[in-house]
């Protein structure tokens, strides 16, 4: 048995089979079970390692050959597999609370498997093709039954599709640069193409217009799932590029550009978030700012620290987005809108969802004692050492995100008439949102728990990890 068969082909097949299951709850439970099993297997028996059970000796080979190319998941990808399928299980289990399991779980599992395949394919450049396949399979997940496809969905498809050709061309040109780094003209051409490709893929300013549009028109839970997966894999794909090309890795202007782009995304995302009157749009701009933070982390001169910050943010981010999206879907189901004006005072009828929404948001933007706080704090400090103006802009962006969160809080609790406090959420919604909030506090109060697990992440990269 090879690792790609287990962590790519099996979930692809399982996702296809889940489409045939008739009941929402069965799909949610089965999807969660598959995802948890894959995460547990990756934790217990990583590729290329041997485990003994009595007289039996188990080993999973890392490489599968497909049409003369290698698809390989090695032991260094173990933590990514654990994290991705673990986070997937959390999102799939959450469909019990948010609904739409028959749409989100099967396609979610298939999309996750394709994104894992994008990490495994060699040469890594072909990941662009697999990411494009995942984008196409996300469309049925994002489209709302009975609704016309909106502009956000169409732009998502266009922008993500356009990324692929640019990246493949840049990869071809860069292979020439690898042989003769003296060719400055070729480097500039390749850098321009690569920049355009990743600008589309990561939805860099101003190409992120589809994110708030999509958050307005699609189910918040589906959008949250997609927006927690795609930027993560796109960023890892980008880091693979940096790891593979020394001229990129060692180029001071590159890290400067990365920092500038990261700040631009953070600042624009933060400022726009402060002025939104739609919960979905606040959510979208916060995600834009989060991508900016990841870029900032990757731009730190201390690469080890930068990579650890980059990877440490993944788990709290996924958890916070999950709790936030789950809570929003509770409001959307009841009120059919996420416009703040329509949700005034709704915290009195849905207090657990309101708490989940506010804590999910605050955990993501760095509320002290919550999940993202330690790493955001460390990142801000490092940034201040590098450049004081950059640290000031980081503060401005954080302020914007805080204002967006506080406006949502004020609107949700501001009841004009005296409505009694009653929890109208279903028990699954209360339990899952409650557990999520506990998890967010646990990750913030005991950040060192994740340290041994996350310390291995940089090993994924041959040069950056050293």
């Amino acid at each position: 048995m090879t690792a790609p068969l287990i962590w790519i082909v099996f979930p692809l097949l399982a996702g296809g089979l889940l489409l045939a299951l008739p009941r929402e709850r069965w799909v949610a439970f089965a999807g969660t079970l598959v995802s948890v099993s894959l995460a547990a297997l990756a934790f217990w028996l990583p590729p290329d390692m041997t485990q003994r059970i009595g007289p039996l000796s188990l080993r999973i080979e890392s490489t599968l050959n497909v049409f003369g190319r290698q698809v390989s998941l090695t032991a260094s990808e173990q933590i990514v597999l654990v994290l991705v399928y673990g986070i997937g299980a959390f999102w799939f289990f959450g469909t019990l609370a948010s609904g739409s399991a028959r749409r989100i779980v099967p396609f979610g599992l298939i999309v996750t498997a394709l994104l894992v395949a994008s990490l495994a394919v060699r040469p890594f450049l072909y990941a662009a093709l697999l990411i494009e396949l995942a984008v196409m399979l996300s469309i049925p997940l994002l489209i709302q039954p009975g609704q016309r496809p909106g502009r956000g969905l169409i732009r998502f498809l266009i922008y993500q599709t356009l990324a692929m050709p640019f990246i493949l061309f840049a990869g071809f040109l860069l292979s020439g640069v690898d042989v003769g780094p003296a060719d400055v003209g070729l480097i500039i051409e390749a850098a321009v193409l690569l920049g355009l490709g990743f600008a589309f893929l990561l939805s860099v300013f101003p190409l992120y217009t589809w994110i708030p549009l999509l958050a307005e028109e699609a189910s918040p839970y589906a959008v949250g799932f997609i927006l927690s997966l795609f930027p993560t894999f796109s960023l890892i794909f980008g880091l693979n590029f940096v790891d593979n090309y020394s001229w990129l890795r060692d180029s001071p202007p590159f890290t400067e550009i990365l920092r500038l782009v990261g700040l631009l995304m953070m600042v624009t995302g933060g400022i726009w978030a402060a002025f939104q009157r739609h919960l979905g749009r606040i959510f979208a701009y916060t995600i834009v700012a989060e991508t900016g933070i990841s870029l900032l982390a990757a731009s730190l001169p201390d690469r080890q620290l930068g990579l650890q910050a980059f990877f440490y943010l993944l788990a709290p981010r996924a958890l916070a987005l999950g709790v936030w999206a789950m809570s929003m879907s509770v409001f959307e189901k009841r009120y059919s809108t996420l416009q703040l004006d329509s949700l005034r005072g709704s915290a009195r009828s849905f207090p657990v969802a309101a708490v989940g929404l506010v804590f999910g948001n605050l955990a993501l933007i760095g509320l002290p004692l919550m999940a993202s706080f330690p790493i955001r704090q460390a990142l801000w400090e490092r940034l201040a050492v590098l450049s004081f103006p950059a640290a000031v802009w980081f503060g401005v962006a954080s302020l914007g995100l805080w204002l967006g969160a506080l406006r949502a809080l004020v609107t949700l609790v501001d009841a004009r008439v005296d409505v009694p406090w009653i929890s109208n959420e279903a028990w699954e919604q209360r339990v899952l949102i409650g557990l999520g909030i506990v998890g967010l506090f646990a990750l913030g109060l005991f950040p060192h728990w994740a340290q041994p697990l996350l310390a291995n992440f940089p090993a994924m990269f041959e040069y950056l990890g050293k």
Binding site: L129, M136, I139, I143
Partner: protein
């Protein structure tokens, strides 16, 4: 393959891609798209073996067939939309601008891709330019799909001179077919009687 044969294919690409931009009837649109894929196959044949090129052509035609069957199943006869500029003259003018830009940029770009040759570079750039023009002028799912397929066909022509791996060809074919299926899905949801019974 002699250069003039390749130029013939490139000219056919120009005719079909401009026709795609001007046509309003979906039957003409899909017919022209099929013709465009044939011309692209002709160009790709200069760099790839027949079997690999033919596989690309067959997949592309399957994509056209998928879009055609979807259009047959809905009642939209014409692709009219409010955001589409009303005059065919405007679209022809925009296509002319793309043609001029592509012609002026193909020669220098040929230096990056010396293995491709000028007809392939010109044809590839033309389809990418026309596809992007298409994408910028519409919000209709069928036209968006045609625009994306045109852009990708242009990219495939250029990429054929760089890469002939079976895996990449297969993945590109799956992407072409996948885009057509995605486009069909969006067209069905965009139709006045959008499906209510999609998987929930």
């Amino acid at each position: 393959m002699p250069d003039f044969v390749l130029w013939l294919a490139a000219v056919l690409l120009a005719v079909t891609s401009v026709g795609l931009l001007l046509s309003r009837d979906w039957r003409w649109t899909l017919g022209l798209l099929g013709g465009q894929y044939f011309a692209a196959f002709w160009l790709i044949l200069a760099r790839w073996p027949l079997t690999l090129s033919a596989a690309t052509l067959v997949t592309s035609w399957m994509a056209v067939a998928v879009l055609g069957m979807t259009q047959l199943s809905i009642k939209n006869e014409r692709l009219s939309e409010t955001s589409w500029p009303s005059g065919a003259l405007f679209r022809a003018f925009a296509a002319g601008l793309v043609l001029i830009t592509v012609t002026s940029s193909a020669q220098p770009a040929n230096k990056w891709l010396p293995s491709a040759g000028l007809p392939l570079v010109w044809g590839g750039f033309l389809l990418i330019g026309m596809g992007l023009l298409h994408l910028g002028m519409t919000v209709h799912p069928l036209r968006i799909t045609v625009g994306l397929l045109t852009t990708l066909a242009g990219f495939e022509i250029l990429y054929s001179s760089l890469e002939n791996s079976i895996l990449v060809t297969g993945l590109l074919a799956i992407i072409t077919l996948g885009l057509a299926l995605t486009g069909s899905y969006l067209v069905l949801f965009d139709a006045p009687e959008a499906p209510e019974s999609a998987p929930e």
